[in-house]
Every structure is written in C-alpha cells, then in structure tokens.
C-alpha cells in the first residue's frame, strides 16, 4: 500500500485530529440523519415515524457504541438482541397472537433500515431470525406456531435459515440433504453451508429432500438444537458480518419428528422462496441503513478535513460525488419501500419487485459506502473509523439471500415469460 509513508506521518501529526474524528463518528446524532433531502422519514405516516424513531434511538444508544467491538471480537450480542426483542423487534411481521408485532413489510423495512445504522451485521441477523419466525407463523399449524413462535418473538430462542449446501447455492433446488420417513420421524442426512447463527441458535428451519429431484421434492422441517445427530462445523472467518457466527450445519442420521414439518411434503421450496422474498427486502433495507450512515460520515468528514488550504467540502468533484451518492440513496429507498408495499399487498409482480429491489439497492448502497470510504482518504481504511465496517458488512448483501445474478434470472424470467 503506497500510501503508508505519508499516512504514518499524518497519523503521528494528526493524532488529535483522529481522536476528534472518532468522537464525531461515535456521537449518536450522526446516524439519525438530520439532513433534509435524505431524511428517511419522508412520506411516512406518524405511526411509522414513531417506529423509526424507536429503531434509530435503539441503534444509536444500544448498537452503534459496540459495533466495532462486536466486529473485532466476533461477539454474538445476545443481550442486546433480547433488548431489541422486548421492543417488539423479534417478530416484527409475525402475528400478535403468538407474540409478534403484526406490522407490515413496509414498517419492517423502515425498522431494519434504522437499526442497520447502528450495526449492519446484528440487524441482518435479526432480519434472518424474523424471516424464520414468519415462516413458522405462516406455514406452521397451530401446535407448531404456539410451540416455536412466542420464544422466537421474545428471542428467548434464536433461529437459523438452512437452505444452502456445499453443492447447491444459486441452484438451491438441487439440494441433497435427505429426509427419509421412518414411522413418525424423518431421518436427516446431509449438510448445510454458510448458516448464519449456526451453532449458537436454537431453532433451525431446514429445507431437505423428502421426494423426487427438483423443487417439488423438497420439504421444510424445524430442527431443534440438541437433537442427536445435529452437529456444526467450525466457525467461519469472514470479511464482515462478524457479530454473527457462521457455521456448517451437519445432519448424521438426525431424527426429526414428522410433527416438525411445516406445511405439506413437497411444499418446502415454496416456503423457502416465500421467506426469501421478505428476506430480500430486509437485506436491502439493511444496505440502505449502512449507506445512509456512510453518507453522513462522508459529509461530516468533508466539512472537517482540509487540504489545499480549504475544507474538502469546497471541492466541486466531492460535492458532486456526494450529491450522486445521496440521489442514489433516495432512489434505492423508494424502490425498497415500493417492493415492500407490493409484497404486503400480494401484488402479482411482488417477487420480481423484491428481486429488483434487492439487486439495485445492495449494489448501489455498496457503491455509496465504498465511495464514502474513498472520501475519507487514508483514514477510511482504518478500523478506528466506522465507514470501513459498513463497507465490509454490506458487501455480502450482494451475494446472499440469492446472488444479484439470481435476481437478474428472476427478473428476466418475468419479462420474457410468454403470457
């Protein structure tokens, strides 16, 4: 890295400057975004503004101060997430009769966007947990809903979504984990890869093969931690998302009661994909929060940092770059919120809209965060500054919950479908 020489000189001289800047990035006011044109509360109802306020306050007070620590020490912040659950964030779009908050997809998007400004990785895990709780709430029978949902909504128990395998990522329907019916149990054999929360969570929503090849032979089973035959691989070392453990989930003659199957045999793939539609909006919302926080960080840096005798904010190139970042942020936000509304209303094109939102927003927001890092110069590369964590954390959003390439597949299929 050619910049090390001048950088270390700057670091030595500017140590006071650095410390001041750390104060700036850790002050809670930053993440709330009191800057008018990118204000995330535009167009929201009074009630939604209240939800957003709680989420922003929680993010600023309970998450942002620990974001770097959780990342560096790879801490899974169970207590903080349980505090979030007490406010209703454990099952935001789960029905109230089993402990959920019963809110809409749009309300959910607003909440995750705000929480993400405090810590992307933790918010993303909370969104995966929410997705699993919803799947059980929607496709489970009453016994299953009452058995699992209350504990998930309160985060007494944590959940993981298990679809991907070492041999099937984008080609999810080709999954191999088998579930052989034996009496009133299924015997599971196989393994899942890259499972968020794997090893530390209690409830695993597992897509496995009960029937023929392809999507129609897949069913959805809920597997509880402690079931004999359920084990975990090593904790993966990741570039970001470090506040959630990622492990392989291994099934070796793991016996799961038939009563733990969500819906019918063969319905599993459908359940998985329906879960992912919402999951994609949630992940895109997390990217939005990171981009919003990064734009604010960049803006503040431009106002403070001086080169060539004046503040960087007087440099037209940087002014224009910031304007472009802000514009793309607002455009992304509108797309996610539209997709959320479409999903809520069961719009016939909801799946494509969710895919478009995920595709566009995760890409654009990554670019925004990346440019914000660039605007920080050498400081942007230091872990003392939050912007690099936003970049590292949201990079994976372009890959998981369906790669952005798979999103293109879904969208083009809709466009080229013979009607």
């Amino acid at each position: 890295m050619a910049v090390v020489g001048p950088l270390s000189r700057i670091a030595r001289i500017g140590s006071t400057f650095c410390r001041n800047n750390s104060l700036i990035f850790s002050r809670s006011s930053q993440r709330r975004g009191i800057v008018s044109c990118i204000d995330p509360s535009h167009g929201l109802t009074d009630e939604q503004k209240e939800f957003q306020k709680v989420a922003f306050d929680f993010a600023a007070n309970e998450m942002a101060p620990h974001m770097a620590d959780w990342d560096q020490k790879e801490i899974f912040p169970v207590e903080t997430m349980r505090k979030a659950a007490q406010l209703g964030f454990g099952g935001i779009y789960v029905q109230p009769d089993v402990g959920g908050s019963g809110l809409s997809r749009l309300d959910t998007s607003i909440i995750f966007e705000a929480l993400s400004t405090g810590c992307v990785s933790t918010t993303a895990y909370i969104s995966i947990h929410n997705m699993c709780a919803w799947m059980i709430d929607t496709f489970g029978n009453n016994e299953q809903r009452e058995k699992f949902c209350p504990d998930l909504c309160s985060m007494e128990k944590f959940a993981s979504y298990c679809l991907t395998e070492p041999g099937s990522g984008s080609d999810a329907a080709s999954l191999l984990t088998s579930a052989q019916k034996k009496g009133d149990h299924y015997i599971l054999n196989g393994s899942k890869a890259f499972i968020s929360g794997g090893g530390d969570t209690d409830v695993y929503v597992v897509m496995c093969r009960t029937g023929v090849k392809g999507p129609k032979g897949i069913s959805c089973l809920v597997v509880e931690k402690g079931t004999p035959g359920l084990s975990f691989g090593k904790k993966e070392k990741k570039v970001g998302w470090n506040s959630q453990p990622t492990r392989a989930v291994i099934f070796e003659d793991c016996e799961v009661p038939v009563t733990n199957r969500l819906g019918e045999e063969g319905q599993g793939f459908n359940i998985a994909m329906k879960g992912l539609n919402g999951g994609r909006i949630n992940i895109a919302s997390c990217s939005l929060g990171a981009a919003h926080a990064s734009v604010l960080l960049a803006r503040d840096h431009l106002l403070v940092r001086k080169q060539f005798g004046e503040a960087l904010a007087n440099n037209q190139y940087l002014q224009f770059k910031l304007a472009e970042m802000a514009t793309k942020l607002v455009a992304s936000r509108l797309l996610v919120r539209e997709a959320a509304k479409a999903l809520q209303e069961n719009h016939p094109d909801a799946v494509s809209l969710c895919s478009m939102a995920k595709l566009f927003v995760t890409d654009e927001c990554f670019n925004i965060c990346n440019q914000a890092l660039q605007m920080h110069g050498g400081y942007g590369y230091l872990k003392d500054y939050a912007v690099q964590q936003f970049v590292r954390d949201i990079r994976v959003h372009q890959i998981l919950e369906g790669t952005n390439e798979v999103m293109r597949m879904i969208i083009s299929r809709n466009l080229l479908m013979e009607s």
Binding site: I34, K49, E50, F51, V54, L87, I92, P96, S101
Partner: protein, 254 residues
C-alpha cells in the same frame, strides 16, 4: 384523591440538529427542522409512568401547548405509557411569544380542572433554557415544589425529593399536591415498544383552547435580537507562570 399526574411535555428542535439563526436575527430557523420531545420532558414522562406502574398513581395525563404538531409529541408520551393527552392549541403569533408565564398559567388551570395530585415537568427546555415553568406553576397554585429532582419517593406523609443543587444533593420532604421538575439523573426514559406505539393510536387526545381555561396569552417579553454565540478565539501558549499572570493582568481578568 384522584391519583392523577399531570405531565407537561414540550416540542423542541431535536438536540442533534445544528441550530441556524434566521437572516433577520428575529429567531432561529424552525421550518423544516427536525423536532422532538424535550429530553427533560421525556424523563418527566418516564417518572410519571413509573409511579403508575408502582400503583402509587392511577392516571398519567400528558399536556402540550403549541400548534398542531405538538400532537406528535403527545403521541410519543402516550407510546411511553401515558393514559391520555391534552393538546392546548396555541399557534401563530401567540406561539412565537409563548413562554413559561403563559404555560404555567395554563398548567395551573388544567391542574385544577383535572384535579391533579402531582405535576411533573422537565427542569427546563433545551431551546430557551428558561427553567421557570415548574416554579411559576407551583407559585400560581400555591403548591410546594421539588425542582431539579434526581430521586423521588412517595411516602405516606408527603414526597421525599433529592435535589441536585450546586453544593451537592439536598433532600427535602414536601406535602402533596406538589410540582416536581425532573433533572437528568432522575431516570433513563424507556424506549416505546412497537405494541405500545400502536396502542397509543387509540388513546384520546383532547383539544383545549387557552381561552377556555381563562388564560391570557399576552407576553410581557419582547425578543429584540437573536445572535449566534461569538466565534471561539484562538488561545495562545505562554512559557512561564509569570508570563501567564502578566497576560491575564493585561487583559484585565486579574
């Protein structure tokens, strides 16, 4: 004994916003600027809700004086656990000149009307820093006041209040009914939960006009000019203590 607590909340410019003075120096820019509940008022609401949860008080009524937007602030208090709200409508020129004198008259009138046992306010608002409303309200009602409260306990024969004063902490016992003003360390306001925010929608907010309470809103104060604080001047380093003393003497500080 009605067991009713009246809590006053004020809608102010959000603490995180950078304040800008209007070009005509008549005030600060408030249009399009983010507003929220005064932080000390949040602490007051939290204390009232805590008293209700401990079953020491039966009902928490939250009051705000201001334009239509003050209802948002009342809703936030309802989401924290207050039972109902009263919005005293004051807008336009009246709102610009609204100050502690008028608000305390309104609160005194409402306290009588609602038969309140206790009034809890924030110690001061972060926009005008007056620190007068609580004291004036107590005087108008001829009630005892426990201001700058950092600890409040309701006892059989009155209220024990620990006050934060310049010299440290002062503990007093006052009889009820009384006015309390909340200081920073009284409590940590709770987050509204999602279910409570939704329940708050159904709680009632009554609309009242100051005239209905027989309150005269005319201000006895006139704001002449508003300016930003002077820019901080650069300091200078000196080599010895003697230099420091002579420089201070030159500047007339010693």
């Amino acid at each position: 004994m009605s067991g009713r607590v009246l809590v006053g909340v004020k809608r102010v410019i959000d603490y995180a916003v950078k304040i800008r003075v209007k070009p005509d120096h008549s005030g600060v820019v408030t249009d399009g600027v983010k507003h929220s509940m005064n932080p000390f008022c949040e602490i007051a609401v939290e204390e009232a809700v805590k008293l209700k949860e401990k079953k020491l008080m039966k009902e928490v009524v939250v009051v705000s004086c201001g334009p239509q937007q003050s209802q948002e602030t009342i809703r936030t208090a309802l989401a924290m656990g207050a039972d109902r709200g009263i919005h005293v409508e004051v807008s336009g020129k009246d709102y610009e000149t609204l100050g502690p004198l008028q608000v305390s008259k309104i609160l005194a009138a409402l306290a009588k009307k609602e038969d309140a046992q206790l009034i809890i306010l924030g110690k001061q608002a972060i926009d005008d820093d007056c620190n007068q409303t609580g004291q004036m309200t107590a005087a108008l009602l001829d009630w005892p006041q426990g201001t700058f409260a950092s600890e409040v306990s309701l006892e059989k024969d009155g209220i024990k209040v620990v006050r934060e004063i310049d010299g440290g902490l002062e503990t007093i016992k006052i009889s009820t009914p009384a006015v309390l003003t909340a200081d920073l360390r009284l409590n940590t306001p709770r987050y509204a939960t999602l279910p409570n925010i939704m329940k708050a929608k159904k709680k009632k907010i009554a609309n009242v006009k100051p005239a209905d309470l027989g309150v005269d809103l005319t201000s006895r104060l006139e704001v002449l000019r508003v300016d930003e604080p002077p820019q901080r001047q650069a300091g200078m380093k000196v080599e010895t203590v003697d230099d420091l003393v002579s420089k201070l003497k030159d500047a007339g500080k010693v």
